[in-house]
Amino acid sequence: MHEVDMTRCLLLSMQEWRQRHAPSVPTVRTVHLQVGDFTCVEPEQLSITWGVATADSWLQGSRLAIEPVPLVGRCLACGGSYSPSAAAGYRSPCCNRPMEEIVSGRELRIRSVDYELRASETTAPNAPKPDPNPDPSPTPSQSAVPSAVPLRT
């Protein structure tokens, strides 16, 4: 159930991205996500609801590629990394410390978007303002140009 809301929010985030950065409505192939194990998001559920949520939208036909990120803790007693688990009460096996520092596992991140721009659409009337620092690469030809744009590394 709550993946529907997550999906809706992801859609809004994608909308924000597009309005700021895509020069026209792009054809999005794949949205690459990182989803940490220590979040309330079930990757499989998210993929299922994505298809439904994006139907009839500009993201129709796009795919979510979800990279799970394991929960890793750092034991503050010895500095060692460990995999906190519910079974072990999230304690560090080395020194039996509670889960103090989380190194990874809280990610809910849009890593990159694979999309194509059709040259004929780059001058669409409601296209967002052009990038003030345009990339000097040549404008795309009539054929679609795929690109993978990292949002954050």
Binding site: H2, C9, S13, W17, H21, E100, I110
Partner: protein, 232 residues
């Protein structure tokens, strides 16, 4: 064509909600009020606790409630009876409040009062131990409730909520004599996933722990005010 993107944008899956939450928080800061997001599973005692806290702190703080967990109109009436403005938030079928819903509630609240006159703004979230933890509404502090009737394994079963909380209230401790549950074990489990959070045992019906809880609140408010003095 390769479009370089700003690093600061679109990094979070929930970025759209995050931006709205930050917007809400900027308003709260401008109004100099402390916003608390109160979360728990259904029936853990959020409304009952608020009833007690609103009436006991009425002379100390000017307060209002954004009520996102209305089972019946009665909940709002119970809180209004204490003399505190309560604005119901329409959640549809959502299982948590999000920042946009809270901003809608704020607009309604502003029709009734000037938020700059408030010290504390309470947000009672939808009863759910899972996703409210991921959806910020602009709060300064997260308060999670766990009743002793829910069992001592809940902090390990819903660790994200208890990890994110700044304060966890173990509620209904008046029932402990009748339950095969070890309250120290509940507290230990909370501290295993969140070693630095405050854990306070309370009973809204008998009054246990309310002083400690209200002290915690006063500390948070004081900390916020001394911080804004430093910034100013």
């Amino acid at each position: 064509m390769h479009m370089p993107l700003e690093d600061s944008l679109g990094l979070n899956l929930l970025a759209a909600n995050q931006h709205r939450a930050e917007h809400n928080r900027a308003h709260f800061d401008a109004w100099d009020l402390l916003c608390l997001n109160v979360m728990s599973s259904p029936g853990a005692g959020k409304t009952s606790l608020l009833e007690r806290t609103l009436s006991q702190l009425a002379d100390d703080f000017a307060m209002a409630v954004l009520e996102g967990d209305m089972t019946t109109q009665l909940d709002a009436e119970r809180l209004e009876a204490v003399g505190v403005p309560v604005v119901p938030i329409t959640t549809g079928r959502a299982c948590h409040l999000d920042a946009a819903m809270v901003s809608g509630g704020l607009r309604l609240l502003q029709q009734r009062l000037d938020p700059a006159d408030l010290d504390l703004l309470w947000v009672e979230n939808v009863g759910n131990l899972v996703c409210p933890a991921e959806f910020e509404v602009g709060e300064h502090r997260k308060v999670a409730l766990l009743s002793v009737t829910e069992g001592d394994d809940k902090p390990l079963k819903y660790p994200v909520m208890f990890r994110e909380a700044d304060c966890v209230l173990i509620t209904k401790v008046d029932l402990l004599p009748y339950l095969p549950v070890d309250v120290e074990r509940i507290a230990a489990h909370i501290h295993q996933v969140n070693p630095h959070c405050s854990v306070i045992q309370v009973s809204a019906s008998r009054g246990d722990g309310l002083d400690a809880w209200h002290d915690w609140l006063r500390q948070q408010r004081t900390a916020q005010q001394s911080r804004s003095l430093v910034v100013a």
